[in-house]
Amino acid sequence: MKSKLVLLLAVVFLTTSLLMGCGAQQQAPTETTEETEAPEEAEEPTTVETVRIGAILPLTGGAAATGVKLRAAMEVAQDIINGEYPELAKVPLAKEVGLPNLGNAKLEIIFADHQGNPEMAKSEAERLIEQGVAGLVGAYQSSCTKPASQAAEQYGVPFVAGSSSSAALTERGLNYFVRVAPNDDIETAMFFDYLIYLNDKYNADIKTVAVAYIDNEFGVHAKEMVEKWVKEKYGALGFELVGVVPYAVDVTNVDTEVQQIKSLNADAVFHASYIADITMFVNKYKEFKVAPKAVLNYCGGFQDTQFVVNLGSDSDYFAGGAAFSAEKLGDMPELAKINEFYKAKTGADLDGPALEEFSSVLVLAEAINIAKSLDGDAIIEVIKNTKFDAPYYATGAIKFDAKGQNEILASYMVQTQNGKYQAVYPEEIATAEPVVPIPDWDKRN
């Protein structure tokens, strides 16, 4: 028995080690002169055929549907960089093939799946770094972005997060981390400014606010930001936080939560919810006839176009921060073209998180091009000291502050009207007037 047991163990160890080793080797860089053993040892390339970056996303698991969409957005960015698109001349790296400063090297994104698991996010980040990627993008869920970017920090590899929104991400003092999306801190301030706008221009008389949030990193942080802003600024301007309603991550019924929200009778409800939860909430709002004057959503389920598909006309009049509105495509030809590419891949319009992940790839690729190097230190220096053109955003540019947060707010307020996401605030970029207060359920068509 002894010998067989030992033999079995030896076979298992050696087979898996060999297989995993081969797996890593098979994806080794092709014809590049950069060092792939460790990023800190990377030498400045003279000629490079392919520049690799890693993308870590939830491609399976609970957030797989979103992860697959985000991958498509990143692939669009890759196609634009690697092709020639004179019509997108204003979009960085679109005019010429590849990265011109690196001998027109092609960009290759290596995708990895973290399944929504922070442990896997870290190990995938390390594996991609070992394969010699010049930088990382991803990882959508903030709880996965955290360990993945910690790993990148340890190896001195730049990490450009697209849509992860937890404010805590840029509060960790990391040197190699930046984030494109507005965080929930900035978003909360925007929500209150929007309410002030509604009060001033539309006499909405919104004074009381409640927060419904998923009891995880995303939701709790959003709730804390509301508490902070009411205490620091907006409380003095007449707003009052009348209650908070947390719900479990694996919630299957929100009857109790909706009853709680109804009893709070708040003028506005801020939601930090994913697509499945917000769909349940809206159905129950209808059932219990809950219609606050405004419902504002943090970047999550509402921004997913599936929200409108799931709820049909019941999805109308909800609002939230987003970096994309299909109604703005007429004013933004570059965005319209990018959306066309994305739609060809997915059959759906872009949404805020997809556009943010798209831009994270462009920012990283442009930084590599400007740095003319695959060295992490050189790339991050460019990222932190450059104002990147982003004609696909209403604000037109991306610039990171000292903490790595994009200081040019890429989002604006959108409201669903007749099944479309209309830009409603700020006024100068609005595509429609906001509907306030939200009509009662029995007065809807």
């Binding site: 067989k4 047991l5 080690s17 995993m20 797996g23 890593a24 955290k146 360990p147 990391l174």
Partner: protein
């Protein structure tokens, strides 16, 4: 002390040699996770394999260990080595408090109770501000240029190799302890309790006390593994660390290898962890979930056709070969008789 010293030596030697053969991060990562989860499996085996008390709540002890060392470092800048021991002690105390009433339950009821307790502990951590609640904690990273002594002190390394050897030392210590326990008086008492609670009691064994001792040791080891895991991942939140997934992974790999045998968890972990990592690495980026399907299918096949785990397969093969040998010898004798 250890029945199969040779096998143990070979296992440790193979594990120690892997970082010399390959320095691929994916392989070393799988080895580190394999060692952490094999150690956890050993801890679980003490209470379930030896004492027969099925626990589905070991993630609670694992999480307490992870949180203790993290908080001690995050809030007070105290080395995780101190937090590691402290976490073990706290987990043992929690285990004593939760187990005493739960030991009055038998069979499935005990298993359900441990599951419930783990869930309660998770909810406490989700809503406890001092431990940053649901937002989780990112461990502060020490400077990249720090020397090895400082890295060892703070348990943070730029390379995977120190982790492999630290986890290997922990695993060796735990497997030696388990081997000792298995063949000690306490081990026999636990097995007696497992086979028949009433008979054990009738011969003067106090089942509650011995089950409690087993649970304390098991919780202490699980918490140390939790501390190691937190330091390795550098981020924890209640959902990942107290998850049912962790508890099930411990159960699954031990059952896969063979319950009640010190070699069961290491066999289970050495199949389960590399398989999981390998299928994800090779197929995960496709986003089709094929990796998870293959992985699930293999587990179903092993559990359906060999519920005693891989140890059971080996035992079957050994018995078969013994019978063949005996038959063969008989034939020879018969021939020579003629």
């Amino acid at each position: 002390m250890v029945k199969n010293k040779k096998i143990l030596f070979i296992i440790i030697a193979i594990l120690a040699l892997i970082p010399i053969i390959t320095r691929t991060k994916a392989v070393l990562n799988a080895i580190i996770l394999l060692l952490i989860f094999a150690t956890l499996g050993e801890a679980w085996n003490i209470i379930t394999g030896f004492a027969g008390q099925t626990s589905f709540g070991h993630a609670a002890f694992f999480g307490i260990g992870a949180y203790t060392s993290t908080i001690v470092f995050y809030r007070y800048n105290i080395t995780p080595w101190v937090g590691l021991i402290l976490g073990g002690i706290i987990a043992a105390v929690v285990a004593a408090i939760m187990s005493y009433p739960c030991f009055k339950l038998k069979g499935h009821y005990f298993a359900v109770a441990t599951l419930a307790v783990a869930e309660i502990i998770k909810q406490i951590f989700v809503s406890w501000d001092y431990v940053e609640g649901a937002t989780g904690i990112s461990l502060p990273i020490i400077q990249r240029s720090s020397g090895f002594a400082k890295r060892l002190f703070y348990l943070q390394f730029n390379e995977k190799i120190p982790w492999v050897y630290i986890c290997l030392v922990l695993f060796t210590a735990v497997i030696l302890l388990c081997s000792y326990l298995e063949n000690s008086k306490m081990g026999y008492y636990l097995k007696a309790i497992r086979e028949s609670h009433e008979v054990a009691e009738s011969i003067g064994i106090n089942p509650t006390n011995y089950k409690l001792y087993a649970m304390l040791i098991s919780a202490f080891i699980s918490a140390i593994c939790g501390s190691m895991y937190a330091q390795y991942i550098l981020y924890i939140d209640p959902f990942m660390i107290f998850s049912l997934d962790i508890s099930m992974k411990i159960v699954l790999l031990t059952v896969l290898g063979g319950v009640g045998n010190v070699f069961g968890p290491i066999i289970g972990a050495s199949i389960f962890i590399p398989l999981s990592e390998f299928t994800r690495i090779k197929l995960g980026g496709s986003g089709t979930g094929v990796d998870l399907m293959i992985y699930g299918l293999l587990i179903i096949l092993i559990t359906c056709y060999q519920p005693k785990g891989v140890i059971g397969i080996v035992q079957k093969l050994t018995e078969k070969s013994k019978k063949t040998n005996v038959g063969g010898e008989g034939k020879i004798e018969a021939t020579s008789g003629n």
